[in-house]
Symmetry: C2
């Protein structure tokens, strides 16, 4: 990525904290990543000690960090007025409930910390360097182990009393296919319960990457994701919807989603960007790097006092 960084002298740390691994980077921007490592997500004590050691070693080699950005799996407490701000809260990930991510790492490294969800971080990355570059209003959705969205309106991440949870939206049901009626432990057949990676595997008996492009699984998947795109369009009025995550590695889904989206919208809303769906519903070009680039941007915002 040949991106000119406007503040290239500011050394920052970024952590993309996932349920499987933590990706850590030191750098000033996408064109200047000076160090990178990843650590498996085991226990908070073990993983955070590895993260801390990585940054301490990096500081010795590259100089002081000015701030740290953390884009984490959730649910996360983003409310600065809350006593548990900066924590991962009641996560099903064993051992991680109520881990004070921002506090522990910020104190250990003695830097200001920017803290967001992983999808919000990735959405920032898409806006700066990816498929949403230059847009004021867009949605980034990851469809993988779960489904989550980061929403940007007027250039700002949308967080209300907490972060959006569009993965659990209730939506039209197709008749149960292969006897599968959804696997969300809370809502059974919400979006995530029928369209995330584990739902595909539960319905068809094999994971999505084992299914041929002609398999009926993809027609159904495209339908669910087209419904999702309709509801995101109506709720947020974005200029573009960027779809990432493991499931969207199936590139043949995109034209199918666009086709079904047009049928479902049925001409409602005449906005120019809704007439060019190839540019409206798009893949991410960042190949899994949106999260760590977003984490660096969170660090930059923390450094500037914007977060």
């Amino acid at each position: 990525m040949a991106v000119q960084d406007v503040e290239s002298s500011i050394l920052l740390g970024g952590v993309e904290a996932g349920g499987t691994k933590f990706n850590c980077v030191i750098g000033t921007g996408p064109g200047d990543i000076r160090s990178r490592a990843h650590f498996p997500t085991t226990t908070p004590a073990e993983t955070l000690a590895q993260v801390q050691a990585f940054f301490e070693a990096g500081i010795k080699r590259h100089g002081e960090l000015q701030a740290l950005g953390i884009a984490t799996f959730g649910p996360a407490d983003l409310n600065k007025a809350s006593e548990t701000y900066g924590y991962i809260t009641s996560t099903p990930k064993a051992g991680w409930s109520y881990t004070n991510m921002a506090g522990l790492l910020g104190d250990a490294l003695a830097v200001p910390v920017g803290f967001e969800t992983d999808v919000n971080g990735a959405a920032l990355g898409e806006g700066l360097y990816g498929a949403a570059k230059g847009l004021m209003h867009y949605v980034y959705v990851t469809i993988g182990t779960g489904i989550g969205a980061g929403v940007v309106v007027n250039g700002n991440l949308l967080n209300g009393a907490t972060h959006p949870e569009v993965g659990h939206m209730l939506m039209p049901q197709e008749p149960a296919v292969n006897g599968f009626e959804g696997n969300c432990p809370f809502h059974k057949n919400c979006l995530e319960g029928v369209a995330a990676g584990p739902a595909i595997k539960a319905r068809w008996g094999v994971s999505g990457d084992q299914l041929e492009e002609s398999h009926p699984a993809w027609l159904l998947q495209a339908h669910y994701l087209a419904v999702m795109c309709v509801n995101l369009t109506l709720c947020y009025a974005p200029e573009r919807i960027v779809l990432g995550g493991g499931v969207m590695g199936q590139a043949h889904l995109f034209p199918m989603i666009r086709e079904k989206f047009a049928v479902l919208m049925n001409g409602y809303q005449k906005l120019p960007h809704l007439q060019d769906l190839d540019s409206y519903i798009v893949p991410t070009p960042l190949q899994g790097m949106a999260g760590e680039l977003g984490a660096l941007e969170l660090a930059r915002k923390a450094y500037k006092g914007e977060q």
Copy 2:
């Protein structure tokens, strides 16, 4: 309403432009409405001339207006970079498509104009004087002839490339009741197509106010509105959802909606305000005045240069 207006010397005009009538007010705030009138929505030429004459007469009696606020039926162009900013756009209301509401009235009265949708205006009114007073994040939904929502996040109205259109969200379907499968001309069985006032009438043969509280129509209606509240909760993370409009005159719907909401959410999200649904899903106390109070606030924002 005993509301102390902090800037009571600023005389403002407000227009709540509906598909049936235009409500016009002159005043400085809810405790100081100096003049009020309403005019039927006939043709733009006739109705806007009456509105103009009302304000001109008001100026003679009360003094110069500092700004005008318009909260209008839609769809409306809220994009200031657009050539049709301030217009009602492609409305099914005969004769009103591409009417330059903000331009015509602003020029006629030579004042700055604040321009929003009717539900966005009403949402502002709820936040200042109604059920969402003091909240940073809330949603106001009107369920009447149509369904629309004004969304406030971090104290600001949420508008993306256009205003939200949550009335058309796609949602789980109940089996067709009385052979009725929805009456949205675009989407058939979207939220508005199954739960707005005309849908109730189409399904049961009589309008909602003719149906007893024990009628099964209300269980179905509560289900649809509970699904809507779940999706609004997941998309926007509001601190409160305020429900208004003609259909919500049926006060017995509120406890039914809350009960079904709790079942559908099924314990997902532990936020304190979701544990007290009597305070989370609430009626408007403004008795139809939210729109004109919101229009005055739009005028105040225009006066201050905030819009």
